[in-house]
Symmetry: C2
Subunit: 260 residues, 2 copies
């Protein structure tokens, strides 16, 4: 997401500063949750002197935290400010009790996600110590046609959004017997999506859409179970939870960030 | 947290821009999770023209989201970047399965918190539809001596941190029979804190510290139950969970943000 199309410095609008702040925040990921300023400068493609100066400013304002050994992380103060009122919070808070119910019955990873920029963005994930391996993680993204949650949302998106996705992902056809369009039609007919081993071998994702008033998906909930698990009871539990979440969610706020 | 001690504009370091960005993010709270730009300008104490310009820039970079009706919220992209690697994430992720266990047994609000800037910062909160009323909410703060989680952490903080808190909160003595110092000694002797109705009438908070290697608190977990609930089983469940969280947490990362 780093943009190399740099604008001219414009201190009045703050454009250049915010672009650099964004590049610094984008430099962190699970493989590098904390960084030295030198490593941060390289990953954010900023001159060392610029990085040192900007990191100092960001630490001073709570955008970054500096630990005792000098390493830098995104700031707890920034987390606090954003988490209070981020756009998906109403949906997340409404969904959490239902996710707990699903997790306590299925006893495997239980997730909530939305579509964002043509990708699946994971909003919440509940696990158990004995859950199967799964790479999904809160605030990370996955491919739409590579996850059951993505398929559940895409199949219940507007015709326009589906056609756009199909035209941009012609390579996905090879992954589904009969192609992606037919796979989506099957998800729509069944009311759930099931994908074997796309994320991790030996695991199956099962997901259902959370439908808004227009009967398009505003989110999806899903579980990851060992491949071969009988899905019927799981699908029933997920469907009941999805209905509960839809009822508990203020749709106007939910549909304002899910892009379908 | 808004600083009115404004520095001179310094476009090289980005200080003035980040200060304004911070004031904009601080303007949102649960009573105003989304705002018009005009209201945002007033709450952030910024000239309208400055606010319009900066909001445009922040929306362009994903720091803010603008909904179809023009109202502004903190951005989902910013949430995503910060949530991936915020300093308390390791602690949060390690604690979540234990919080689920406690919540499924006690069936009342179950929370995880740390000390920050002399306040209790709530990191997670699991609830049930039939839980009692409680005002605590993820990413919000509460007073240390007004919450059982705060008392559990303060009582197990360093002598120095406790003395500093006691000298800065002499008014708290009137709230505890025998004073705050004695109340803290009791929490330490018992290993848990219990407070009736400080946050909401008819409710009791019960909390235990999560201890680090130095036997100081790195966090606290607590539940909110109807006043009069027999606490013994709850305390046993909380203690077992706190030990599990301590074992599952990388203490170096935990102790780097809890200030005690």
């Amino acid at each position: 997401m780093v943009t190399h199309n740099r604008r001219m410095a414009n201190s009045r609008s703050g454009d250049s500063v915010l672009e650099r702040v964004l590049r610094i925040l984008e430099a962190f990921d699970t493989s590098a949750p904390s960084l030295t300023v030198g490593a941060l400068a390289r990953r954010a493609d900023l001159p060392q002197a610029t990085a040192y100066r900007l990191v100092d400013t960001m630490v001073r304002h709570g955008f970054l935290d500096r630990s005792f050994d000098g390493r830098i992380r995104p700031g707890l103060r920034l987390w606090e400010l954003v988490t209070r009122c981020y756009p998906a919070r109403d949906l997340h808070d409404a969904a959490l009790p239902f996710l707990q119910d699903v997790q306590s019955v299925v006893e495997q990873h239980t997730q909530l996600a939305v579509l964002r920029d043509g990708e699946v963005l994971v909003l919440e994930r509940l696990s158990s110590p004995h859950s199967v391996v799964n790479q999904a993680s809160v605030a990370f993204r996955m491919g739409v046609h590579e996850t059951s949650m993505g398929m559940a949302m895409l199949a219940l998106s507007s015709q326009e959004a589906q056609e756009r996705y199909l035209s941009e992902h012609k390579d996905a056809d090879a992954l589904f017997p009969g192609g992606l369009r037919r796979a989506l039609a099957e998800v729509r007919a069944r009311g759930y999506a099931s994908l074997d081993g796309f994320q991790d071998a030996g695991t199956t994702g099962i997901a259902v859409p959370v439908l808004g008033r227009t009967k398009h998906a505003v989110a999806a909930i899903g579980v990851v179970v060992p491949t071969g698990t009988t899905p019927h009871a799981i699908i029933a539990v997920l469907r009941a939870a999805a209905r509960g979440i839809a009822r508990a969610t203020d749709e106007d706020s939910a549909s304002s960030f899910n892009e379908n």
